[in-house]
């Protein structure tokens, strides 16, 4: 066992880890930040996407030890300071961008990373960026609408279903 220290959602966080401890397990089991989900555990589904030093990564495919000293942001860090939903989260609610909600933390974190690099993405760019995030409920249309709306664009401009 060894000690790892990082900043998670703006706060210092540390804990004991093994070499094989995945970042997602450290977040969920040591820090009790269970908003980050483990879907496939094979880096296919994207339910575990978090930001490490501002970049979206799959937390099931990175070791906790590799996040030593890093700035990590999870879905728990996406709400506003007063606890109300952040812009992207609110847009997901407004546009019914989730049904069961299992993939939603990863979808929101990927959307946030996309909008950080590309504040006004086209529908095609959004679909392309979400290539590594799987949703088995919504058929993606409402997720795309939510992200268009969160970027201040017309959500109804989406291609016909």
């Amino acid at each position: 066992m060894s000690q790892v220290t990082m900043t998670v959602n703006g706060k210092a966080a540390s804990g004991e880890i093994e070499g094989r401890t995945l970042l997602v397990d450290f977040l969920r089991e040591t820090l009790n930040l269970t908003g980050t989900h483990v879907g496939c555990d094979t880096s296919q589904c994207g339910a575990c996407v978090v930001h490490v030093n501002g970049k979206a990564i799959k937390a099931c495919t990175m070791f906790a030890a590799e996040a030593e000293g890093a700035e990590v942001k999870t879905i728990e860090g996406m709400a506003n300071a007063d606890g109300s939903l952040g812009t992207i989260q609110q847009a997901f609610q407004d546009h019914h961008g989730l049904q069961c909600g299992f993939c939603t933390p990863g979808m929101v974190m990927s959307a946030a990373a996309l909008l950080q690099d590309n504040p006004k993405p086209s529908e095609a760019e959004i679909r392309d960026y979400l290539e590594g995030n799987l949703c088995r409920c919504t058929g993606y249309h409402n997720i795309i609408k939510a992200i268009l709306a969160a970027s201040g664009q017309d959500a109804d401009a989406i291609a016909a279903e």
Binding site: E18, G19, R20
Partner: protein
């Protein structure tokens, strides 16, 4: 996963020292190695993480005009940072998905030599040079069958140097579930000839299609390949496609890569 220790050296010298231990395994971005460890297909006693070594990250041009990419440079960084070689930047921009590209590295991809990976086609198609902690290896001598390379057990890739062709194109036919190349073809036209590297198709891993290189070197046009075809024997046959299908795709994608160059 079996238990192992993990070390995060900050310098190349420390990484070389850490690799001397028995059963030490270099860890690039981990996008292949971590799934492999989860399946218990590997049992290293120690992982040496190369992602924290700043001197192994970044892109520059050397005096001979080659583009030099540090082994720990991520696909995202290559996609955004390579100038003057659009086919290489675009190849990096289309590996896996954005989150995978933010972790996966060029050195990791080449050292793994997955038979369906994109980077081996770029390195072989460009005639790149793989620089390790102890020598320089030409791409023609580097790849050695499925998941095999010329690297010794404790050898680390430090940098990859790409000569810049006059024209180049890379087209892959994605396997839709894994997003790996079912077949991918990298074509590069240099002043002294054309190189064609094929990934995803052969049971021997990435290879140069010399027949196509010969005709394209005298006429760099898609229709120059009329009548030129690969046999299906020796091609990978699996539930995603037969050997004959893959051989056919090689011809189609080579034409498209030439047109795109």
């Amino acid at each position: 996963m079996y238990a192992f220790d993990i070390e995060r050296p900050a310098t190349i010298a420390d990484a070389i020292a850490a690799m001397k231990g028995e059963d030490a395994q270099a860890l690039g971005g981990g996008q292949t190695l971590i799934p492999t460890l989860k399946q218990r297909l590997a049992m290293p006693s120690k992982l040496v993480s190369l992602s924290g070594i700043e001197e192994m990250r970044g892109i520059c041009r050397e005096d001979e005009g080659r583009i030099c990419i540090g082994a720990s440079t991520t696909h995202t960084e290559v996609a955004a940072g390579v100038e003057g070689y659009a086919a290489l930047a675009s190849l990096a921009a289309n590996i896996g998905d954005p989150a995978v590209r933010n972790r996966g590295t060029i050195g990791g991809s080449l050292a793994n030599n997955d038979p369906s990976a994109c980077y081996p086609a770029a390195a072989l198609g460009s005639g790149a040079t793989v620089v390790t902690d102890r020598r320089e290896i030409a791409a023609d001598d580097f790849f050695d069958g499925l998941f095999g390379t010329a690297l010794e057990e404790d050898e680390i890739i430090i940098e990859v140097r790409f000569p810049v062709p006059e024209k180049a194109g890379y087209i892959k036919f994605e396997q839709p579930a894994s997003r790996f190349a079912l077949v991918g073809v990298f074509v590069a036209k240099f002043a002294d000839g054309v190189r064609v590297a094929v990934t995803g198709a052969s049971e021997e891993g990435v290879f140069r299609w010399s027949e196509a290189e010969a005709v394209l070197s005298s006429n760099f046009a898609a229709d120059a390949l009329d009548g030129v075809a690969l046999p299906g024997s020796g091609m990978i046959s699996d539930l995603h496609g037969s050997g004959d299908y893959r051989a056919h795709l090689v011809g189609v994608l080579t034409r498209r890569a030439v047109s795109a160059a």
